[in-house]
């Protein structure tokens, strides 16, 4: 391919990356995130033991060279459990936000594009917004029954209204642009205008919101598991591990400290990446 040409042209993605990498914190966050993803994907290779390998003879061992993060009351290696647990946190983060992007995005676009439905949709969203997100997620999970998929669904659906608002606002400003008018003038159908012109051009705030919402989703999912409404033991979800380790906080504090640090690391990474993306995608801050 003509490499030199693309370099000179500064493609949109290249431009975004150029601005993004100036923010050192965001780059570190991205690296941490990629590390977590790799660990989650290659969990069986990386983890020294299985996530549910019980061995009473090695129960409650403090962190040492064999077990860097110690073992829990059933003699399971905490590090291996954490490594497998990253699969839960990441998949909950991505899929829950995926659910809210799709549902919220759909409602937001419809509301912005069809003024007749706007009031009905947005007032309904307002009603959902009146219930704190965490509460809504709790209700949904208890209605569906606590398991991994329902947890994702609950966390995702509970932030749908937020996404509907962001997308609606963004689409409302995009649809006034000239290129949309031009597309309409040459007779493009509504579906085509929405899919080919409006969506690609209203993506920026959605991407930022999605990254930050992922951080929120990881926290609320682990909080729900912590309270016993999420992933049930023996699955090594970090919130559930924390909640199980809490009983031994006096004898084995590392059982609560370490899973919390893991949650914090991933949420921190998502937050700085989100902030970095906002700084380089937000046109108001363009230099």
């Amino acid at each position: 391919m003509k490499k030199s040409v693309t370099e000179k042209k500064h493609t949109m993605l290249g431009e975004i990356w150029r601005r993004f990498k100036k923010n050192r914190q965001a780059v570190i966050g991205l690296i941490v995130l990629i590390l977590f993803i790799l660990i989650a994907v290659f969990a069986p290779v990386v983890a020294p033991y299985g996530y549910d390998d019980q061995d009473a003879s090695r129960a409650m061992m403090r962190p040492c060279t064999d077990y860097p993060f110690g073992t829990d009351n059933l003699g399971r290696d905490v590090m291996s459990r954490l490594i497998y647990g990253s699969r839960y946190s990441l998949s909950i983060g991505f899929l829950a936000v995926g659910i809210s992007v799709i549902t919220g995005g759909f409602l937001g676009i419809i509301a912005a594009y069809y003024p007749k439905l706007d009031n009905i949709i947005m007032r309904t969203m307002d009603l959902f917004m009146a219930i704190p997100q965490m509460l809504l997620a709790m209700c949904i999970v208890s209605a569906l029954g606590p398991n991994l998929f329902n947890l994702m669904l609950a966390v995702g659906l509970s932030s749908t209204p937020k996404f509907a608002r962001v997308v609606r606002a963004s689409v409302l400003s995009t649809r006034e642009q000239e290129f949309v008018e031009a597309a309409r003038a040459i007779g493009a159908s509504n579906t085509r205008i929405i899919l080919r012109h409006i969506i690609p051009n209203s993506m920026a705030p959605l991407i930022v919101q999605a990254t930050l919402a992922m951080a929120g989703a990881v926290i609320s999912a682990s909080a729900l598991s912590f309270l016993g409404f999420g992933v049930a033991p023996p699955m090594p979800e970090w919130g559930a591990m924390l909640s199980a380790g809490r009983k031994y906080i006096r004898q084995a504090p590392y059982l609560t400290v370490i899973p919390g640090l893991a949650i914090m690391a991933i949420v921190y990474a998502l937050n700085v990446v989100g902030d970095g993306l906002r700084d380089c995608l937000d046109p108001r801050l363009k230099k």
């Binding site: 009146a130 219930i131 919390g260 914090m264």
Partner: protein, 323 residues
């Protein structure tokens, strides 16, 4: 202005009805019959039916929803499936506890948040700014329940200076829950304060105020902070709602008998009448808080008052004011 307040107060009613319908519908599809939980698995069909009638949970979806809504209008939230006592009585007692903790937490959050936000905006790009924004980022990344547990570990297990749980016997029991909840919201408030202040400090009128020899302190407090307040107040209002939800986790950690713990306990024992009552209570308080935030706006920015006053007039100038 009074008209606006009354109008907004009345607006809370349809919101509450809507929230009731949503919560009722979600919980309606929850599995398990509370009768069997209350009476045991071997209950006779007659006993189950009698229990249903006593609790007001017999009949179709529509009749039950209608009953719930009429109850709501008279301030009756139904009977708890567990204790067979009115949910409302239980909630009122517990709500004081939750409100007590949330109020102290938001005060802590506001003080820390605004203070560090201002400092970090004034010293932008210095070590203090980096430090403060870094801490705030950690603050929002820390799960509140973990922070609470770490506080217990530090203050109760290692230092042994604060009691790990309970509420009401000494002020010491309040310290950790308030810090856990307050620090979390202060991080968000700090970030908003910082960005809002940075925007205002760039304005011409700040330069004018400095140029005319106004003291540094007055420029910051009277000219900058006051104009930066609108987004900050919005965030504080939102944070209070988050705090109420956060108290669910917080109260479970510190074994505090507030609405949050009641909610978790009710959920675990499938006491959906109590769950619904808790959610409604929290939604109601959030709605009232939103109203208060809107009223505070008019004190900060008198231009908004004219906007509210013109709500009733035939052609409200929505253009600039609504944005």
């Amino acid at each position: 202005m009074l008209k606006f307040i009354i109008k907004r107060l009345l607006w809370i009613i349809p919101v509450l009805i809507g929230v009731t319908v949503i919560v009722f519908t979600i919980l309606y599809f929850s599995p398990g019959d509370p009768a069997y939980l209350a009476l045991g698995d071997n209950a006779t069909p007659e006993a189950v039916e009698a229990y249903h009638i006593e609790m007001g949970i017999d009949g179709s979806y529509a009749t039950r929803l209608g009953r719930t809504l009429t109850g709501l209008l008279t301030g009756d939230l139904g009977l708890s499936y567990r204790s067979r006592t009115p949910v409302m009585d239980e909630l009122l007692v517990r709500f004081k506890v939750t409100l007590d903790i949330s109020a102290w937490s938001i005060v802590l959050g506001i003080i820390l948040g605004i203070l560090f936000g201002i400092v970090s905006a004034l010293k932008q790009n210095t070590i203090w700014d980096t430090l403060a924004t870094g801490c705030a980022l950690f603050g929002i990344s820390m799960p509140m329940f973990w922070q609470g547990l770490m506080l217990i570990l530090l203050c109760s297990v290692y230092l042994n200076i604060l009691p790990a749980s309970g509420y009401g016997s000494t002020w010491k029991q309040m310290v950790m829950p308030v810090i856990a909840l307050g620090v979390n919201s202060s991080a968000t408030i700090m970030r908003t304060t910082r960005s809002s202040m940075l925007e205002v400090l760039r304005q011409d009128y700040i330069r004018t105020a400095k140029a005319k020899g106004q003291s540094y302190y007055l420029v910051i407090m009277r000219h900058a902070l006051k104009n930066a307040m609108i987004p900050i107040v919005t965030v504080i209002g939102l944070q209070f709602g988050t705090l109420l939800a956060g108290s669910i986790v917080c109260e479970s950690i510190f074994s505090i008998g507030g609405v949050g713990k009641y909610l978790v306990d009710s959920m675990n024992s499938r006491d959906y009448a109590a769950v619904q009552g808790c959610v409604l209570m929290i939604a109601f308080v959030s709605a009232v808080l939103n109203l208060i935030v809107d009223i505070i706006y008019t004190y900060i920015d008198p231009r908004m008052k004219t906007m509210y006053n013109s709500v009733k007039s035939k052609k409200p100038k929505k253009g600039g004011a609504a944005a």
